[in-house]
């Protein structure tokens, strides 16, 4: 109960802090909308070939990844840098709040914010691109699990970046440097068949691949087979395992001392 109380206190503080940074709130929702409008409405899918030659539904995980990947990475990374610069971790180290609890509170805020952004994004993608998704109860469940796990995973990665980057500027640069390749090389916007043969195995190394394929499998789209596991479950399980690893590493990396 006391842990719940601590996490709730940290959640409330971070929630208010985020909502009161209006620019951050605006761009958290506006950035993915721009992406959808550019790629979904202006560039459009071209059935005759080219960059956007796949079925519109194929790109849904990619659009979702824009918020699931970018927002936690930059938000948590920056928050870690702000906490370090303001000696907030020094203060928290002498309170009962553990580093894992702090990261959990940050993750919960991101889950709520990105959950809302993802809903908005999904509606816009379907409306603008005509993507047909088989949203059964199981599919919705898979979508929710994928979004929550994805957000948590990239919160953990953001904590790692924030802990090792020496400044807020460094966090932003590192976040972009990591997120951009992941966004386009994880079977999201670019099918692996368009990549050079020698590079394709690397797609399996990206955590975002498991998010994209987990969403796709859950919403009735074809995905590459997995050895001895039903891909509808397999990709989400790998995503959850990676989430556990990154959250644990992120919590451990958070500064406790100077």
């Amino acid at each position: 109960m006391t842990r719940t109380r601590r996490v709730a206190a940290a959640f409330r503080a971070d929630w208010h802090s985020f909502l009161r940074r209006r620019t951050a709130v605006f761009f958290t929702f506006f950035f993915p909308l721009i992406i959808v409008v550019i790629f979904g409405a202006l560039v459009r899918t071209e059935p005759t070939g080219g960059l956007f030659a796949e079925d519109p539904a194929y790109y849904v995980p990619g659009y979702l990844a824009v918020v699931v990947l970018f927002t936690p990475l930059s938000r948590v990374g920056s928050e870690v840098a702000r906490h370090r610069d303001g000696n907030r971790f020094e203060k928290l180290a002498t309170t009962p709040l553990s580093r894992a609890e702090w990261l959990l509170a940050q993750t919960l805020v991101n889950v709520v914010v990105i959950g809302l952004a993802a809903l908005l994004l999904l509606a816009l993608v379907v409306a603008l691109t005509g993507a047909a998704l088989a949203l059964s109860a199981l599919g919705v469940g898979a979508l929710v699990v994928a979004v929550v796990a994805g957000v948590a995973l990239f919160c953990g990665m953001g904590a790692l970046i924030g802990s090792f980057a020496s400044s807020q500027d460094g966090v932003i640069a590192a976040s972009n440097g990591i997120a951009l390749p992941l966004l386009f090389l994880s079977d999201t916007f670019v099918p692996p068949s368009m990549l050079p043969g020698w590079f394709r195995p690397a797609v399996w190394l990206s955590p975002l691949t498991y998010f994209a394929r987990g969403v796709r499998a859950g919403t009735g789209q074809p995905v590459p087979a997995m050895a001895s596991v039903d891909p509808r479950l397999g990709y989400l399980l790998v995503l959850l395992a990676l989430t556990a690893v990154f959250v644990a590493l992120g919590a451990l990396a958070l500064p406790r001392t100077d």
Binding site: A8, A9, R12, D14, S17, N87, A93, T94, R256
Partner: protein, 320 residues
Amino acid sequence: MTATLVAEDLRRAYGETVALDGVSLSVDEGEVFALVGPNGAGKTTLVRALTGTTDAEGSVTLFGNSPRDVDPERVGLLPQDFDPPERLTARELLAYYGGLYDDARNVERVLDDVGLREAAATWYENLSGGQRRRVCVGTALVNDPDLLFLDEPTTGIDPAGRRALWRLVEDLAAGGTTVLLTTHYMEEAHRLGDRVGLLADGRLVAVDDPDALVAEYGGDPRLVVETGADPAGLDLPSNVDARRVEGGEGNLTVRGIDPDDIGGVVDALDRAGATYESLTWTQPDLEDAYLELTSAGEGPAPTAGLGEESLTETVRGGDA
């Protein structure tokens, strides 16, 4: 007395820079220990070593446990340069930090303690520098700690706010809270500290009751006369040691003089037909002891007004 805090042979270096060089100290229950020292002396590193927020060699125990094993409910910390989330109100910040403890104090009471009831609904970023520091102090008090670390608690706070905070610390100590604070204000260290520790170059060069430090290291009382008179031309009374009279740069300094003998010096000036602008008699204070111990003494220059605790009397004007 039971020692609440015991540190032995603490050492910490950042590359080639030695921040702590074998510091040992013990603070008793209910004691206020004031740590003073020049910038870069190692005060903040020492606080961090004591709270377990830096990795230092040596040993530290708080209530008999290592800093990282001690019950955090019993410890409060105000870090130096602490900058909490800026878009929370003072009340929300105290509620946040209070929410991290099982048994936190009532937020409104803490706001009253730090004198921020009026500004409770103001975002931290919109508070004045002094108000911000008071919020930060409040975050160290929300759990009603038995051991309180305050790293420069009154920096940026106006004199009235500073005195209010001093009263608060005195009340806490009277209630049994052990306090370790760092400060650049000698007046603060003298008033609050049951003992004062002077840190220089990472070493604790003196620890004692502040009055004892002043008596041992503060030097003699002195009279500074703003005059161009040459000391050699003065017929000083016999109870003023002429060897301890110095002149130059428009001042005449008489060291080791009692207040009762000031009249004799004035008479000597009158007899010599010398004019003077002011006379300032200064009793040594903690600042003098600090300057002596840190080898940063200013020599014979007037020091009136540097330390408010010193007994300083200035007489303006005066013609022979």
